[in-house]
């Protein structure tokens, strides 16, 4: 397979054209709060101004690899579980030592999720654009249950603040962020006191005891690292009701 041609596509045009942001909603629309990512994308689509690309991947597995090309920044929006109060928003650069594999990830294609897709890209040394996860802390995954109030409010916060979020991500993208490499990622992981479990398919919590060995992706900053790095974008966590989301650049 040809390597994704992001490097060529960016090249000289970069300074003259606006950055391309892609938002990918993941989750299961039939399992309570798990559909939060899909719902955010659905609401954004209602007032879409064409400034970014909106995709939904309710069955995010290997197919996630197909949406990694042709954008400068990709924001995955998914339900997460870290023990924080429901409705907390987590904005995390990827790859992240805080993101656990789904457990069955390496084992069954039913278990493939974002972490596994990133690990495979890393193993193949594919270059990728800047990647972020916007995690919405869930309260319930019960089938047929309505979304919890806290998650409903968080969804609206994201939708209302989307213009600022989008601007922030694009600024970060062109600010030549330093990327964490594979070994650093593992080292941090072993020290991490809490971890997020991204849920791309609605079955996370059942398999939280995962294969830690593959739990973190690695270094694919590639073409965005063409200048000396200065600083790392630290994960940001916004408790329910925090109006400062997504924060400044």
């Amino acid at each position: 397979m040809n390597k994704p041609a992001i490097e060529d596509e960016r090249g000289t045009e970069r300074s003259t054209r606006p950055g391309r942001l892609r938002v990918v909603g993941c989750g299961n629309p039939y399992a309570g709060d798990d559909g939060a990512g899909l719902e955010i994308v659905r609401r954004l689509r209602e007032n879409w101004d064409g400034s970014c690309e909106l995709l939904d991947r309710p069955q995010a597995g290997l197919e996630l690899l197909d949406c990694m090309q042709g954008a400068d920044v990709i924001l995955f929006v998914d339900a997460v579980s870290s023990g924080a109060p429901p409705g907390t928003l987590h904005l995390v650069p990827l790859p992240s030592p805080d993101l656990e594999a789904r457990g069955l990830g390496a084992l069954s294609s039913h278990g493939w999720g974002l972490t596994e897709a990133l690990s495979l890209m890393s193993a193949l040394e594919w270059q990728a654009p800047r990647l972020f996860l916007l995690g919405v802390e869930i309260e319930t995954l019960a089938p047929d249950k309505p979304r919890s109030e806290a998650v409903e409010a968080a969804i609206q916060t994201v939708v209302d603040s989307f213009a600022r979020l989008s601007a922030l991500l694009l600024v970060l993208c062109f600010r030549k962020e330093r990327h964490m490499d594979h070994r650093e990622c593992h080292a941090e992981r072993s020290e991490a006191s809490s971890s997020l479990t991204a849920d791309s398919c609605g079955e996370t919590l059942r398999f939280a005891q995962g294969d830690k060995a593959i739990s973190c992706a690695s270094s694919f900053g590639g073409p965005t690292l063409d200048a000396p790095a200065h600083g790392t974008f630290a994960p940001r966590h916004f408790p329910p009701g925090d109006k400062s989301f997504p924060g400044g650049s």
């Binding site: 397979m1 309710p58 069955q59 597995g61 290997l62 197919e63 690899l65 197909d66 069955l104 390496a106 084992l107 069954s108 294609s109 039913h110 596994e116 690990s119 495979l120 193993a123 193949l124 040394e125 593959i214």
Partner: protein, 429 residues
């Protein structure tokens, strides 16, 4: 090796949740259990009361890997009930969408789930570091299969464009042209896949299976044909339940299917290949021969080569269909509901998938029966283990366990599909 237990609590690289339990006593196998503990899913129960036209969309949800198989078996069953026949370009488009599913499902298994066994890796991610070209070929090839399903089915997973009588929308010729370009690459990549798979190391192990597959007068089977076996079975699909029965065993949430008075049988790529080698395209036959396979293949470990040959066939067949395609006048054949019972059996990537529906005069489903391929292969998997383990008792424990898991993966078991309505039996003394 004396008394010993091999226990795998979570089988890796299979679709869904299953386990293996094996007891060896005094160098003899004392117990084999291929356990499916994924909870039952009750699809047959909640199809009751739904309209026949909803069955393809509901049953597609049984599996994210092979939804087309469920759509195809359900629509053929409904068309059998209503006495209509879907022919010409609509029939060809159904074969085409099935080609897409075989490609994506087979390639996923060959490269991501099965190959790591032969090359000595715990998973495809770690295999990818040393074999990036192969994994990238697999990913790109799988995507061509997904692209076919997306174009004809509306989206790649749980497609929504298949309906009783045909499709909701059919493509124009020009929409298929970009697909043809991708398929030309895919056909070469599939040929390379056959060559590559043939170089893998296979344990010596042949079994005298009863193979069961569809057989059509002049096609490699997807949607139509009689059910045949290499041991004398030759019946129309309607007689399925006179010859096959489902049994509940305590250690599995999936019913075991057996041939009446004969027991285990083998369905899937190996069965199709052995019963239909002469129906493969010349290119696929030639590639199989070059890979060292004859018209018969009795070693289940070589199923990875057979899956690759079927992938090649699917690319070849898809190109043939696209080359001959003229859009039909209407996207679907009209029908009138009537009280009736209909049966359908099609060749899912993992083997025959049987559906039977009883409908009232409005077309409402009164009851449904669905027999997926993995539930049919469970007994065969267990009998393989009974035969295989005594031959390899000298292997160190970890290696023997790995071989047993690999043997199960030969069947590409889709446990999520296989688990369905469980009859409750209470023994009281």
């Amino acid at each position: 090796m004396k008394g010993k237990t091999i226990k795998v609590d979570y089988l890796a690289r299979v679709e869904g949740e299953g386990a293996l339990y094996l007891r060896i006593k005094a160098d003899r196998v004392a117990a084999v259990q291929f356990k499916i503990f994924e909870p039952p899913r009750f699809f047959e129960a909640f199809l009751r009361g739904r309209n026949s036209t909803e069955a393809p969309d509901i049953t597609a949800r049984i599996c994210g890997i092979c939804p087309i198989a469920y759509q195809m078996s359900s629509v053929h069953a409904m068309e059998d009930a209503y006495g209509i026949k879907v022919e010409g370009p609509l029939r060809a488009l159904r074969r085409l969408i099935y080609c897409g599913e075989w490609i994506e499902s087979h390639v996923l298994h060959v490269y991501m789930l099965h190959a790591p066994d032969f090359l000595g890796y715990p998973d495809a991610i770690r295999m990818a570091k040393d074999h990036p070209e192969a994994v990238e070929r697999g990913l790109k090839l799988k995507k061509v299969g997904n692209d076919i399903v997306t174009l004809l089915g509306g989206r790649e997973i749980h497609p929504i464009n298949v309906r009783v009588g045909g499709f909701y929308r059919v493509p124009a010729r020009r929409e298929l042209e970009p697909l043809a370009e991708k398929l030309k690459w895919a056909r070469d990549a599939a040929l390379e896949t056959v060559r590559w798979a043939a170089t893998l190391p296979f344990p010596e192990f042949e079994q005298d299976y009863e193979f069961v597959a569809l057989r059509h007068p002049d096609e490699y089977p997807f949607n139509e044909g009689r059910l045949v076996s290499n041991k004398g079975l030759n019946i129309p699909v309607r007689e399925y339940e006179n010859h096959f029965v489902e049994e509940h065993v305590e250690h599995s949430n999936a019913l075991h299917s057996v041939l009446k008075d004969r027991g285990a049988y083998h369905t899937g790529p190996l069965a199709r290949y052995n019963l239909n080698f002469d129906r493969l395209s010349p290119l696929a036959q030639e590639a199989a021969r070059a890979a060292g396979l004859g018209p018969k293949c009795l070693n289940p470990f070589q199923s990875i080569v057979v899956r690759s040959v079927e992938t090649l066939y699917a690319c070849d067949e898809a190109l043939r269909i696209i080359g001959e395609y003229e859009p039909p006048e209407a996207p679907a054949v009209p029908f009138e509901p009537r009280a009736s019972t209909g049966c359908g059996c099609t060749e899912a990537p993992r083997g025959i998938l049987y559906h039977r529906y009883r409908l009232d005069k409005e077309g409402v489903i009164l009851d449904a029966k669905i027999v997926p391929p993995t539930s049919q292969n469970q007994k065969c998997i267990e009998s393989d283990l009974w035969e295989f383990v005594p031959k390899y008792l000298d292997l160190p424990h970890a290696q023997l366990q790995h071989r047993c898991e690999q043997l199960i993966r030969n069947y590409d078991p889709c446990i999520s599909c296989a688990t369905h309505f469980l009859k409750l039996k209470v023994d009281r003394e």
